[in-house]
């Protein structure tokens, strides 16, 4: 496909949707008022016109797949024969699956906690120095970089050369200059997980940081000043005023990063591809989608396990939504 063709279909694709809305509404405006006297009736057609595309997309890409994935998890690898709980039993007995679950849990424990903590601390510190906004920009920057790009950046840092060569990876160069042996960081089981998590923390801290610094501004100045006049130390203010005040925000950020971490795929796929015991559920699932011609049963089971992880968050969101509606 030539580049010109590409530009053309991009243009056509976007135009199609604009045209849909414009033409259908135009027809409704012109003929609706003349032929359909009852406003309500016209209105309901309009609702359908407005909603239809989004709803169809929502149905095809979210609602139907959720049900279909649940169905497929009870079927064989081609999705043809009902096999009951066979796929689930396979998963429980599969060492790779257990390893992935364990890794996922460690990720879920470490990354949101560290990112939120760093974000909060840096947001606090950055407000006190004159170049705080530059500092914030720099720490926030990794948010804009793709996970794969971040993978390349960090792989370069973890790069390993034999003990006799000059180390071009920063981490090994530091280790060597301190007089230790260079290490192939990404291949040390268990610890390599933490090296991968460091990348994620590096990226997500920025997210926590910007949201916190927006929230920090909402803390009444009088409250902080009153505390200072009463002789509270900065550390005390941080723990006794700021943290309780931002409780809601902390929770929101924590869940936000949890959701992102739960489906973490790119970093591991690019860095180790799940080798050396670094695999997580999303990687295992991708693997099973294509391994041996693809196994939709096992893949679906893995997707469902990831889904189970977000259900508490989902329920909590819906609960909060209900509360808001009542007010």
């Amino acid at each position: 496909m030539t580049i010109l063709n590409l530009v053309f279909i991009v243009f056509l694709g976007v135009l199609f949707f604009i045209a849909y809305f414009h033409i259908s509404n135009y027809i409704l405006d012109v003929y609706g008022n003349k032929t359909l006297k009852r406003f309500n009736f016209e209105n309901s057609i309009r609702v359908i016109v407005f909603i239809a595309p989004a709803f169809i997309v929502l149905f095809i890409f979210i609602l139907y797949p959720v049900i279909e994935t649940i169905r497929l998890s009870f079927y064989d690898k081609f999705g043809r024969e009902f096999v009951g709980l066979y796929n689930y039993k396979w998963a429980i007995n599969d060492p790779e699956f257990r390893r992935s679950i364990l890794n996922n849990l460690v990720w879920l424990l470490v990354v949101p906690t560290l990112s939120t903590f760093f974000g909060l601390v840096i947001a606090n510190l950055a407000d006190r120095i004159w170049w705080g906004s530059i500092a914030k920009s720099i720490i926030f920057m990794p948010m804009a970089i793709s996970f794969v790009g971040a993978g390349v950046i960090w792989k370069f840092i973890y790069e390993y050369r034999g003990p006799d060569n000059t180390q071009i990876g920063l981490l090994n160069a530091i280790i060597v200059s301190l007089g230790y042996e260079p290490q192939a960081w990404l291949t040390i089981p268990m610890w390599n997980n933490f090296f991968l998590m460091a990348i994620m923390v590096w990226i997500q801290t920025g997210l926590a940081l910007v949201i916190f610094s927006a929230a920090l501004r909402s803390i009444p100045k009088e409250m902080l000043e009153a505390a200072r006049i009463d002789g509270a130390s900065e550390l005390k203010i941080f723990f006794l005023i700021i943290i309780p005040y931002l409780e809601q925000t902390i929770l929101v950020i924590w869940t936000l990063i949890t959701i992102i971490v739960l489906r973490i795929f790119d970093i591991i796929f690019a860095m180790t591809n799940g080798e050396w015991q670094t695999g997580v559920l999303a990687n295992l699932m991708y693997d099973w989608m294509f391994r041996g011609g693809g196994d939709s049963g096992r893949g679906s089971v893995l997707a469902i396990v990831i889904m189970i992880g977000v259900i508490p968050i989902l329920a909590w969101n819906l609960y909060k939504h209900r509360q808001e509606q009542k007010i």
Binding site: F21, V47, I62, E68, T69, I138, Y286, I313, N317
Partner: protein, 364 residues
């Protein structure tokens, strides 16, 4: 301060490395590139066909390296065991009694009383000091030879419609969810909120099946650009709608009522009132969704073929990580090319970016 340094170093290192000469990159850390580096190299002198006769000597003259970025040779040797045996100006004598003179720019003169008979010249081991040197050579190579340039265009062709289409359909959707009354509206809203957190992975297998069936039915390629656009639209739909609805809800109701009394239809209201007012919100959402599509790997991997005319940047980078894992000049440059657009957006439109993120999270 400490945090800032830790955070910037990785990206900075990548950027510096992408500008360095590839031979230097492979043998020294990027942090040495800002100062003069000592480099050990091995060169081979020319063989017999270049020899000339002069004053009773057979001489071969030449240059050890063609491309010179200010490199100065400090010392040299003629065996691998003693690579620093001679200084510039010394005459080194080989076992066959031929002599060699070397200056610091790499010009050598190799002379012998007897005629040279070997096709290959002898090896010289040099130790030279290399000043900081940067080059755009890597960028040229990566963009045109490695296919990153094409992948860049492909990614653009994926990301732009994947951002605009959801923006168009979701703005209507969000409008009707906010300002139109119809049966089942609350249920629909609850579905949107639930969909916000549904992991992408839940949809992959069924959607891929649909695409394959669709492709087989109409005899077209199952994986294609429109397919990816729709997939991105589907996965970004919930969050886009949610953010837009939050914004629209904050607009004053009186304005809509007044317009309705004046006989405006919903479409008029949408075009004349909602769109102009929503430009800032659109900008934030556009940036979020665009970056998401640009940086995505999984969707591009599953719903596009990994061929040069369709492969996206992230998938290409991943491929290079596998096949060219040792060629850091290609990897670092490729990674930096893939970051140019996000970083540009980041620095130019940071305000909207942050506003979008904050709106999406504080309320969610």
């Amino acid at each position: 301060m400490f945090f800032v340094i830790i955070w910037i170093i990785p990206t900075f290192g990548l950027f510096i490395s992408s500008l360095r000469d590839k031979d230097l990159l492979a043998i020294s850390g990027w942090w040495t590139s800002l100062t003069t580096t000592e480099v050990n190299e091995i060169y081979r002198m020319s063989g017999m066909e270049r020899q000339i006769e002069e004053n009773g000597y057979f001489k071969i003259k030449g240059k050890l390296f063609e491309y010179n970025s200010g490199k100065k040779i400090e010392s040299f040797g003629i065996t691998s065991k003693k690579i620093n045996e001679f200084n510039i100006g010394d005459v080194a004598i080989f076992k066959d009694e031929s002599e060699v003179l070397l200056d610091e720019d790499g010009n050598y003169e190799w002379r012998s009383k007897t005629e040279f008979t070997k096709k290959k010249g002898k090896r010289l081991f040099t130790t030279s000091l290399s000043p900081p040197a940067f080059t755009f050579e890597n960028y040229r190579e990566v963009l045109f030879k490695e296919g990153i340039g094409r992948a860049f265009i492909n990614t653009m062709a994926v990301a732009l419609p994947s951002t605009l289409i959801p923006l168009i359909i979701c703005s209507f959707f969000a409008y009707s969810l906010t300002w139109m009354k119809f049966y089942g509206r609350d249920t629909l809203l609850a579905i949107i909120i639930a969909s916000l957190v549904v992991p992408l992975q839940m949809s992959l297998i069924p959607i891929l099946t649909i695409y394959n069936d669709f492709g087989a039915l109409f005899g077209v390629a199952a994986k294609s650009y429109p397919g990816v656009w729709m997939a991105h639209t589907g996965f970004g739909l919930a969050s886009t709608t949610f953010l837009l609805r939050n914004f629209l809800k904050s607009l004053p109701n009186e304005m809509m009522e007044a317009a309705k009394v004046d006989g405006a239809s919903h479409y008029d209201i949408f075009l004349r009132i909602i769109i102009p007012l929503s430009i800032p919100a659109f900008a934030s959402i556009f940036i979020l969704q665009f970056l998401w599509c640009w940086n995505d790997l999984l969707v591009g991997l599953v719903f596009l073929d990994q061929i040069p005319s369709e492969i996206i940047l992230t998938a290409k980078l991943k491929e290079l990580l596998g096949s060219r894992g040792e060629n850091w000049e290609i990897l670092t440059t490729g990674a930096f090319v893939s970051m140019t657009v996000p970083l540009f957006i980041f620095f130019a439109l940071q305000r909207y970016f942050i506003r979008g993120l904050v709106a999406g999270s504080v309320k969610g």
